[in-house]
Symmetry: C2
């Protein structure tokens, strides 16, 4: 595909798609559950101008409808095509003629079906867009959402209530369902600025999205999921732009198994390529590969929250603090599984811990502050300070038996900042979105994990050579 | 320890502890936050008789207080000792003299400290109990809860709202914090009948608990966590009793790393033993070892829900069904990582799937029912039936992009029963306790997972030779 040899889109190039000031919904509808009604509902928070286009209605939600995109009185940044696939090609041509900046196409049945007709139809869409200088997201995409501006150009619901803070991540996913599923992390407090999906990626692909996010001040890091790209070099170039901006990328690559690769070909017509080649590329760019996607968001948030902290040792050493010996043992076992060193604290630290702990506590690594600490949060704060002060440790892993927000967490976040070392809070509960989850996620310098293995693998990856640590 | 050569306690032996009809709280208090007040509060749902013992109060919550356990007018099944460690020994002797059936001791500072005094003090408690024919839980324990009767003998809160159903599990944990953390699974819908912790296990240990649960009709399976036992043979004997009863055990063994083993010695004075020896024992007994404890409860519930289903192949094969190609690819990759075969459906099945799916769907394995299925749950039901009918598959893995309860789930649970094959529903969302979680957990023949790796590793373990499948 000749188009793929073009340069990456910049944030300015992609602005009509990622940060549109005006959006037309073609096929706007008031029929509950229809694509057109859902696309309209998703724009409820959008602060820009909305132009519904409908052949049947004259008005929706108080907005006048237009019969065609050609009738809209201004050049629209983004057109969302909530129409059956038979009508797509004519409408895409209309959009190009109307000087629309970008098109989002949900419809399926293109290259992913594998038929000659599907491939040809997709290629025609690409040509129309290219000639018209119009960006194209999809086809076969769930769309994209800018959660800061409310520009939610999709048929499924994107999360609401975004507020910028340290550790904000963007989700970039080829698969719409994957991007939308991950975006529910916002419901438990993760700060997500964008959910960008690309589907068949006939024009805009995940590499373009990454490149455009590199200079976006709202974004501290990215969680990336994709199946394949026809130019690995473009991904590498985009990842290096992110690295130069000091922004980490955690990535789950789909299609690492033969069956998965075959399914990817059926899904978005992607050639997944050799898993080893991709892993090598990820390493070159300092991207952190996460196989178990349920750990992807926690890993991305951890890397994003602490990106401005000092570079750790290649293999970061951690101290472990808990109010339960059993939890400490589990953490020591998990550190061992992931090759994370857990040295013993120095003499001064041991003495400081002894002064804080009851006689049956354990001034070691793992440090057992005993169940006494559950009714004495001050002792947890003092142990945290003692362990963060010790030069041997790059980070602190703090274990919490149940899901709840302790009054000491704010102070712990402050201590982490003062010492320039991450604190990873691990909820050893099965109530992973339990009380206080959203508040804890908001702490600027505490990273919340729901599994020790998720935590320890993230810490291990943090220490690996990262181009985003060295600035190049 | 000579006591450890005794036979395992039976359910009848342990009844005064696990299923008490009367409970004395020694050190009962109305001071908010105190151990004594918390122990009283935890008995709010208890249907048996409660005897508060206090040196200061004459009445608590309308119940008369006794100055000593010796003043209580009946032989109490269980005494909960919410008193400082200095007073423990005298009170344990009083309990023995009063003919109390069992004692629960929270206090720390015994063998786990490693001091001669601590070891000697613990040994004295054991002797008093042994001579008096009184069971002893602890010391250094968080206590135990019978969630069916409300006999919550602990200082921390156990979950409420238990209702028996298929797939009910008991939690058995040496560490109190671990047991309590896992018990929060009840908040997202897991049916938990008992939370039994043993602490220093001077008398009753996790092997006794297992043995006593084998013939408990409320219990379909157990999630077990422990650090060490001074008699592996007793655990093996108890696990075989569970196996004979057809009840699976999922186990996380603490202290598999050198540092973890050292910490275990500090924690409950446990000698953790060689990890390989334990793994060999688990295999002999058909216990399923789970390293990542965040997957333990899901694994135990899965094995418990489907324990009456037909025995699968040694390596069970699965079909994968989703409404998103991306999710299907991820599942295929995860199956590959865990060695779970994913054969292609037979010709008849392919034809049935073709008749159900739109032209751009994928009548393969993984089966992509496309986003159309999200608004057409009937097609998911029909695909489920087609795939469960195919003899090649031992189970179905159904992927769900977001956390929500579909109206088709009840029907899917019925199909699973009719075909005698498990359906594993995997929520590919980061909102793991999202809307509908508690309802979905209640479905008798659908197992909910929050990660593909958790699901595939459970399926792989299900196929391994299990003594609980063969009845011996």
């Amino acid at each position: 595909m000749a188009g793929r040899r073009r340069a990456l889109y910049s944030s300015e190039d992609l602005a009509p798609l990622i940060n549109p000031r005006s959006i037309a919904v073609i096929g706007a509808s008031d029929r509950p559950g229809s694509l057109g009604a859902r696309a309209m509902a998703n724009l409820a928070d959008f602060r820009g101008r909305i132009f519904p286009v409908s052949q049947h209605l004259t008005e929706i939600n108080g907005l006048p409808c237009y019969r065609s995109i050609l009738d809209v009185p201004e050049r629209v940044d983004c057109a969302v095509l909530a129409i059956p696939s038979q009508a797509i090609e004519v409408v895409v041509q209309d959009c190009a003629d109307a000087g629309v900046g970008s098109c989002v196409i949900f419809a399926s049945g293109y290259a992913e079906v594998g038929s000659e007709e599907g491939i040809a139809a997709q290629e025609r869409l690409r040509s129309i867009a290219l000639r018209g200088g119009m960006l194209l997201a999809g086809p076969n995409t769930a769309g994209l959402g800018n959660l800061g501006t409310g520009a939610h150009c999709g048929f499924a619901e994107f999360p609401h209530g975004y507020a910028q803070r340290n550790g904000t991540i963007a989700l970039v996913s080829q698969s719409g369902a994957v991007g939308l599923g991950l975006s529910q992390a916002a419901m438990r407090g993760t700060s997500i600025s964008h959910v960008l999906t690309s589907g068949n990626s006939v024009d805009v692909d995940v590499a373009d999205y990454l490149n455009a996010l590199a200079d976006n001040p709202a974004v501290d890091g990215v969680a990336l999921v994709f199946e394949g790209l026809d130019s690995a070099a473009r991904l590498e170039q985009a990842a290096m732009a992110m690295a130069r901006a000091g922004k980490p990328i955690a990535v789950t690559k789909l299609g690492s198994s033969p069956l998965g690769a075959a399914a990817a070909c059926h899904h978005t017509a992607s050639v997944t390529g050799s898993p080893d080649d991709w892993t090598a590329l990820f390493r070159r760019c300092g991207m952190v590969e996460v196989q178990d996607m349920s750990r992807l968001v926690e890993t991305a948030v951890f890397l994003a929250k602490f990106r401005a902290f000092r570079k750790p040792a290649a293999v970061p050493a951690v101290s472990i603090l808990s109010s339960s010996g059993g939890l400490g043992i589990l953490a020591a076992d998990a550190a061992d599984r992931h090759g994370v060193p857990t040295p013993q604290p120095g003499k001064t630290t041991v003495q400081r811990l002894k002064d804080i702990l009851p006689s049956f506590g354990s001034p070691r690594n793992p440090c057992d502050a005993t169940a006494n600490a559950t009714s004495n949060p001050e002792s947890i704060l003092r142990c945290t300070e003692a362990l963060l002060t010790d030069d041997q440790f790059d980070a602190l892993v703090l274990l919490w038996g149940k899901a709840w927000r302790s009054p000491c967490f704010e102070g712990i976040s402050e201590l982490a900042t003062n010492h320039g070392k991450p604190v990873c809070l691990v909820w050893m509960s099965q109530w992973s979105d339990g009380p206080g989850s959203t508040d804890v996620e908001k702490l600027p310098y505490v990273s919340l994990f729901r599994s020790l293995d998720s935590c320890m693998s993230a810490i291990r990856a943090w220490g690996a050579p990262h181009s985003f640590d060295t600035g190049g």
